[in-house]
């Protein structure tokens, strides 16, 4: 992409002053970079970033109209539209901000016990959970209390990635252990105090526990779902209808930030913007480690082993695949968190908007996929996807258990 490309043809934004919400997480980087590197500014936008302390607070801000848009968990626009999360408010997302970025961490004590129970199973993410299953059995026989795991917000990728991993090991998440919601900044301390035995959370909160010797990172998002969608940029549907050019300008700025984030050598600078900008109150070394560019560490095959690694642009990362949000929604149904009767096809067509993504990508000359959905989990190796401005190199998108998801 030509990063100096002027947006000469783009209509001027209707609204110039915007407040966008984010959480203190590594993958808020696209918003911070778009602001600090001036991408919002060059679109004529005057953006303030509001650092929220909880997803609930961010949702309230969106539903009350205090925020114009926000970094969101992939399921949040759908959950808000369906009235599951707060007040029923139609929301949509036209862009994914990143792929991956989460990891499963267990306490040092649990890690050692898993290793003692089944050292062989601990070698690969697909079998790690069976070592955990054996620990759970042993505890049950010894009359010990259930293990306690946590994830973030109810409508989160973390919740469903964790359950997927547990189930792959033959663990029943409803009955074999206790699952809680704990805010990321408290996870490491609860692991240390023994209130939690493990969790699934985004970076930097895994590496933080690991750096303090409190936890052991077992595997990352990409081990569970090779090409899995993580955060999205969401807005209210009414807002998108009222300010289409503003929305498009924001998407362009975020896309340029994502391109920049995946260019070699820029991740350290991103960590610096997050820390020095006062967005993320965690030691910079921990933020940097969690943000390292998977491409620079090793080839794609090793990428999955870099637990917590995240992609911001390459491999069509920003394209809002309807099949990906649908996969999460089907996981909700699998665990009884969403009624079977809900017409997901209609709901997802409304909430996930590849058409709007294509407009913004076209403005920047970025090649966008021609289709809105794909079979998830179909590729063991890197592959090529047809795009409107040339083929897009894609990464392996394997699920932990080798299954395929055809929307």
């Amino acid at each position: 992409m030509n990063s100096t490309l002027a947006n000469g043809n783009a209509p001027a934004p209707e609204l110039r002053r915007l407040t966008l919400g984010m959480l203190p997480l590594n993958d808020a980087a696209p918003l911070v970079v778009a602001l600090e590197k001036g991408y919002f500014g060059s679109e004529g936008l005057d953006v303030s970033l509001s650092v929220e302390t909880s997803w609930a607070g961010l949702r309230d801000g969106m539903q009350l109209g205090l925020l114009d848009g926000a970094q969101m968990l992939a399921l949040m626009p759908l959950a808000s539209t369906l009235g599951l999360d707060g007040r029923a408010t139609p929301m949509l997302s036209a862009m994914t901000l990143n792929l991956g970025g989460n990891a499963i961490t267990v306490s040092q004590a649990l890690y050692e016990r898993m290793l003692a129970q089944d050292p062989g199973a601990m070698q690969a993410p697909a079998t790690q959970a069976s070592a955990l299953a054996r620990v759970i059995d042993a505890r049950r026989q010894a009359g010990e209390p259930k293990l306690r795991f946590a994830n973030v917000y109810p409508f989160s990728s973390h919740r469903y990635l964790l359950r997927y991993w547990l189930a792959a090991g033959g663990i029943d998440p409803e009955n074999d252990l206790e699952l809680r919601v704990v805010p990321p900044p408290l996870m490491a301390s609860q692991l240390e105090s023994g209130r939690l035995d493990g969790y699934c959370v985004g970076e930097p909160w895994n590496r933080l526990a690991a750096s303090r010797g409190q936890g052991h990172m077992l595997c990352g998002s990409f081990d569970i779902w090779g090409g899995g969608q993580e955060k999205v940029f969401g807005v209210c549907e009414a807002w998108a209808l009222q300010y289409p050019n503003t929305h498009r300008a924001v998407l362009r700025a975020l896309l340029r930030a994502c391109v920049w984030l995946d260019e070699p050598g820029n991740r350290e600078q991103a960590a610096r913007l997050l820390c020095l900008g006062g967005y993320l109150d965690v030691s910079p070394a921990v933020v940097e480690a969690g943000l390292c560019n998977p491409q620079q560490v090793a080839g794609d095959r090793q990428t999955g082993r870099l637990a917590g690694a995240t992609l911001f642009h390459r491999h069509a990362a920003n394209f809002p695949w309807r099949s990906q949000t649908l996969w999460y929604a089907r996981q909700m149904q699998r665990w009884g968190h969403l009624a079977e009767e809900v017409d997901l096809k209609v709901a997802i067509e409304r909430c996930v908007r590849p058409d709007l993504y294509r407009q913004a990508a076209a403005d920047l000359g970025i090649s966008a996929p021609l289709v809105d959905s794909k079979v998830e989990g179909a590729h063991e190796e890197a592959w090529l996807l047809e795009g409107d401005r040339g083929d897009i190199p894609m990464r392996p998108d394997r699920f932990l258990d080798g299954s395929r998801f055809a929307p």
């Binding site: 509001s50 609930a56 607070g57 805010p183 408290l186 109150d281």
Partner: protein
């Protein structure tokens, strides 16, 4: 029967004032807990009708999960708001008050409880000259900027080198940049005196 309220707050003085104000308005405060307390067992044991929580606490997400678990747990107020309450909900959000309520409480009582909580939080803020969440973030950013500028000047370093210095020091001392900035600023402040 009085509505049984649980307060989740990390500021003792503020929660005590809120407790008094709620009691005067006819609510029963069953307990006040801290961010570090185990909210799951507290909620299970006390089964409050409503929770008033400092909106800046990340623990709100735990209350969201409890609200999803079943009818007996309070739900976020934004779900219960009636036609006329969006203004009140906005006002509460701006004041840093967040509420969770079981659906059988009448809207009039919810309004009353919110009004009491908002004014209690606001008078505490006025009294203490406390910063709002946004102002806190800005203040934090300014502290980091000042510390960085100071290092650049004192050590004759460029911006990159100043960052590397702060990064290394923070890492060695297991601190965040913000904590380090505050320490540097207060140390030099003391020297000046």
């Amino acid at each position: 029967m009085a509505i049984r309220v649980l307060i989740v707050d990390t500021k003792d003085e503020r929660s005590q004032a809120l407790e008094r104000a709620l009691a005067e308005a006819g609510f029963e405060v069953v307990s006040t807990v801290d961010e570090q307390d185990d909210l799951y067992s507290t909620m299970e044991a006390l089964q409050p009708d409503a929770v008033i929580v400092d909106a800046a606490l990340p623990s709100r997400d735990t209350l969201e999960h409890l609200g999803q678990l079943g009818r007996r747990y309070p739900k976020p107020m934004i779900m219960l708001a009636e036609e006329e309450t969006p203004d009140l909900t906005q006002q509460a959000t701006r004041a840093g008050v967040s509420a969770y309520v079981i659906d059988s409480i009448s809207p009039a009582l919810v309004r009353s409880m919110l009004n009491v909580s908002i004014s209690s939080f606001e008078s505490f803020r006025a009294l203490k000259g406390e910063l709002s969440r946004t102002q806190e973030t800005l203040a934090q950013r300014r502290a980091i900027d000042r510390a960085k500028a100071m290092i650049m000047e004192l050590r004759g370093l460029g911006e990159d080198a100043a960052y590397q210095y702060m990064r290394k020091t923070a890492m060695n001392r297991r601190m965040t940049i913000h904590e380090l900035a505050q320490e540097l600023l207060s140390a030099t402040g003391n020297k000046g005196k």
